[in-house]
């Protein structure tokens, strides 16, 4: 049991326990905070896998962006101290059963499947390599998806403003 292994299990436990708490707690603010810790756990797993750039993006976009956005929308839409309504027991039981059956099915498939590893030389996921590949217009480059994502983000930006805009009352 090396230190690396212990760290991995610790990160896995953080991710799963806080994820589970996030979907079961009845206080919505706490659910957002638990989600935050779960996402930090996933960023830790990326660090553990030595994909530092993805881990940094995960922290910047999810922890710094999306969770903060969710927290603001909670402040805007919820009364303080109000708990979520309790769910029917039958609904909970059947949801848990469905989720568990799906989980068991995937795990059974996974246990029977054997993956084959390649023996080719690995490309280090450094920022230099990622940047070269991201903006490459050659074969296996990602310049076109990059541009499409930028258009999508622009469209989402404009769409958000239009959707959330207050409509002025008609002047008589």
């Amino acid at each position: 049991m090396t230190g690396s292994t212990i760290i991995f299990y610790f990160l896995a436990a953080i991710t799963l326990v806080f994820g589970l708490l996030s979907v079961t707690t009845r206080q919505i603010f706490r659910a957002a905070i638990y989600l935050l810790f779960s996402l930090i756990g996933i960023a830790g797993i990326y660090f553990w896998l030595q994909y530092e750039f993805v881990a940094a993006v995960q922290i910047v976009v999810y922890v710094g962006g999306i969770v903060v956005l969710i927290l603001f929308s909670i402040f805007l839409t919820q009364q303080a101290g109000e708990k979520l309504a309790r769910q029917k027991l039958g609904r909970k039981v059947f949801s848990a059963l469905a989720a568990f059956c799906g989980f068991a099915l995937v795990m059974v498939q996974l246990a029977q499947h054997e993956f084959f590893q390649t023996s080719d030389a690995a490309v280090a996921p450094t920022v230099y390599n990622i940047g070269q590949k991201m903006l490459s217009v050659n074969d296996k480059g990602y310049a076109l998806p990059f541009e499409i994502i930028s258009i999508l983000l622009l469209a989402a930006l404009v769409g958000c403003i239009v959707i959330a805009m207050k409509t002025k009352p008609e002047e008589q």
Binding site: T2, Q50, F53, V54, A98, A99, L152
Partner: protein, 103 residues
Amino acid sequence: MQPGLYHILFISCALFFIGVYGFFTRKNLITMLMSIELILNSVNLNFIAFNKYLWPQQMDGLFFTLFIIAIAAAEAAVAIAIIINLYRSHKSIDVESAEDLKY
């Protein structure tokens, strides 16, 4: 036992079905959005694990993860705009209060 591909696949699978459970049981739109974020994160973890252990000579999984994160950010922003608009017109973000088109 040294953690490998199967351990990470177990985590991502468990996280995915935790998200599915939350999506089934929750009725508040913001908590449903949180469940979707968990599901998207489990998919990202899967892509990175496959890239690291099975396909290290290319960085395709990494790019898919980056693009999924970008799309998730756009999706969360649009969803929250819709939720706030719904709250403005219905004074509630419960899915059961948003049934104007149902009948």
